[in-house]
């Protein structure tokens, strides 16, 4: 595999705000690269520097081995976290407008069908629902049949159904060997779509790898959940159990589930409501940053 985008020691300061503090990574052609992080982590800033929208304070970005130039803008598809489109222009006209900016474009009919926009072609862009709007913005990002697609939090604000549909669209794009750069707050989304994930916080990358590799590296344990009122507080200090209480539940981290359950039974704790789950990226994130992703 060859590398399509290379980011090195990228830094961006807004006055005294150090939004991005020296991030480096490479993105392989045909993969989906995910930037994960809480609000204000520096995801949008990083992505917008890669897109050539924001100038960097220092560091380098290479597209196909050279600094981005006009060909980059012709070959990249971009979906911003927030975009406003020209008013009084309809959906179909907007697609037409953007398609005329590029030297190479995808047939609009196919794009319209794929993004399920057929019903709304004559509608003013201001009168779309959130999900319809996201699909239009995605269609605009794809209008030039891009080699690399940047999606900045594309599913924020969508209902679960719409989010799944959107994932399907993104998966279709992946099938075409396009390179994707995605930022998100949603772990399931990163897990579902990304081949490589970089977790960002305070402008730095604090962990990177494939979703599986990340989990494997950081976790070889599971979580056992019990209702808090069924676990006496005397157990909180028990050195054999890594136990903490939250939201009316008790979470016990366990490397050996059988041994832990034996121990709980010996303490005569009712296990009727016991749940076991393997640890997720969400847990990883909590552990790495010490805070919740969506809080």
């Amino acid at each position: 595999m060859s590398c399509i985008l290379q980011v090195e020691k990228l830094v961006k300061h807004f006055g005294t705000v150090e939004a991005v503090n020296g991030v480096s990574f490479t993105i392989e052609r045909g993969t989906c690269f995910g930037l994960l992080g809480p609000n204000g982590a520096g995801k949008t800033t990083t992505v917008e520097m890669m897109e050539g929208i924001l100038p960097s304070t220092s560091g380098s970005i290479q597209y196909k081995g050279a600094p981005a130039d006009e060909t980059f803008r012709d070959e990249a598809g971009i979906m911003f976290q927030e975009t406003s489109l020209q008013e009084f222009i309809q959906v179909g006209e907007t697609l037409e407008l953007f398609s005329r900016f590029y030297s190479h474009t995808r047939p609009l009919d196919e794009l319209i069908e794929r993004c399920a926009l057929g019903e709304y072609l004559d509608r003013d862009v201001r009168k779309l629902s959130g999900g319809q709007r996201q699909r239009l913005l995605l269609a605009i990002a794809l209008v030039n049949d891009p080699e690399i697609v940047f999606l900045d939090e594309p599913t924020t604000g969508l209902d679960p159904q719409a989010r799944r549909n959107f994932w399907q669209l993104v998966n279709d794009i992946k099938q075409e060997q396009k390179t994707l750069v995605l930022t998100t707050h949603y772990m399931e989304e990163a897990y579902e779509l990304c081949d490589e994930i970089a977790i960002m916080d305070h402008g730095r990358i604090i962990a990177q790898g494939s979703p599986r590799a990340l989990l494997k590296k950081h976790f070889d344990n599971s979580v056992i959940l019990l209702p808090a009122n069924e676990v006496p507080e005397t157990l909180d200090q028990d050195p054999r159990l890594k136990l903490h209480r939250m939201n009316g539940q008790v979470e016990i981290l366990s490397e050996d589930v059988n041994a832990t359950i034996d121990l709980l039974m010996a303490q005569r704790i009712p296990l009727t409501h016991l749940q076991i789950r393997s640890r997720t990226l969400e847990d990883l994130f909590l552990e790495l940053t010490g805070r919740g992703l969506r809080s």
Binding site: R73, T83, S84, I89, L97, Y102, S103
Partner: protein, 335 residues
């Protein structure tokens, strides 16, 4: 510059303008209403003062001496006979008197001229030499039309381009365009051309409409008028590019545009002639492109001047356009 991209932005902007009903009607209805209102306000109140142009006041023939002492007549010294005669033709002067030779000119359709003639002529006096000219009165509305058209063009140029670009920048439309291969030059020229031809179209419509309603004088060539209006429009659109180059706050843009447009509206001679105002005001007015456009348009419409006679204004408008455009385009930022 890719022509395809330019055309794409141009047609999108045109669609936006045409569909934005409120802006469209404001652009068309307002000037028609102004002209219509003034046409009625001023047809009823004709000036009650007699105006007599006096040529060569040094030597006064004895017969006119008494006449020149009459009260309630405004005597205006004129320098050139030719232009003064034209003023009699247009009822801007009720009478023209060459005080040394005793020749006088009146318009045969002017009641004021007839009254003055009765005052001037003594029975049996043969030293006076009567000359008659013909022509219809230039009403205030004839004079006002170029001003109102100019004012409308000015507001449309400044706000239609400057304010709109700032709004695009504020709500992120420009940022989205920046992410495409579209260049700033393609984008800006599309904005300029779109507004330019829309203004020409709207102005022609307003011109035709007001002409139909009140009917006004046009002594010059339509082509010359068109050229002057296009140049004037272009220069003011370029001026607004400077305002729009960096700002991303609509309120600030609005304030600055008002700061530019109001003095222009007051001082460029839209409503009243600057001829009587202090020299300093007249000089100051010359820094505004609107002044040059209106003065040239009036010269063409009312005096029937050709392009050659308004070359000064045309040259100044061209220079202003180039300067404004260079500053505006150089300092433009998408964000």
């Amino acid at each position: 510059m890719r022509f395809k991209r330019f055309i794409a932005v141009l047609s999108a902007r045109n669609l936006e303008f045409i569909r934005d009903r409120s802006a469209l009607s404001w652009n068309i209805v307002l000037p028609v209403l102004i002209v219509f209102g003034f046409a009625f306000a001023f047809t009823t109140s004709s000036q009650d003062l007699f105006k007599v142009g006096v040529y060569d006041q040094q030597k006064q023939a004895p017969t006119v001496e008494a006449f020149l002492k009459l009260k309630h007549i405004q005597f205006i010294t004129v320098e050139a006979l030719e232009t003064a005669i034209t003023k009699v033709e247009r009822h801007q002067l009720d009478m023209l008197l060459d005080s040394s030779s005793g020749s006088y000119w009146i318009n045969d359709s002017s009641a004021n001229g007839y009254m003055l003639e009765q005052l001037l002529k003594r029975p049996g006096d043969t030293t006076l030499n009567k000359q008659t000219v013909t022509g219809d009165a230039i009403r205030y509305v004839d004079w006002l039309i170029p001003g109102v058209l100019g004012m409308n063009i000015m507001f449309s140029s400044l706000f239609g381009v400057g304010y709109v670009i700032v709004r695009y920048r504020k709500n992120g439309v420009l940022k989205r365009l920046k992410a495409t291969p579209l260049t700033a030059f393609e984008f800006l020229s599309a904005q300029v051309v779109s507004r330019l031809w829309l203004i020409v179209a709207v102005t022609s419509l307003v011109y035709a409409g007001t002409d139909l309603l009140v009917g006004f004088r046009m002594y010059g060539s339509y082509l010359s008028l068109l050229l002057v209006l296009v140049l004037g429009t272009f220069s003011m659109i370029c001026l607004s590019l400077i305002v729009a180059a960096r700002l991303s706050n609509e309120e600030t843009a609005n304030g600055i545009l008002n700061l530019v447009s109001w003095p222009m509206m007051m001082l460029s001679g839209v409503w009243f002639s600057l001829e009587g105002s202090p020299d300093i005001i007249q000089q100051l007015a010359l820094i505004f492109p609107l002044t040059h456009m209106i003065q040239a348009a009036r010269a063409i419409m009312i005096d029937g001047d050709g392009l050659l006679q308004v070359t000064d204004h045309i040259l100044i408008l061209i220079i202003m356009s180039v300067v404004f455009m260079t500053i505006g385009a150089r300092s433009f930022k998408w964000e």
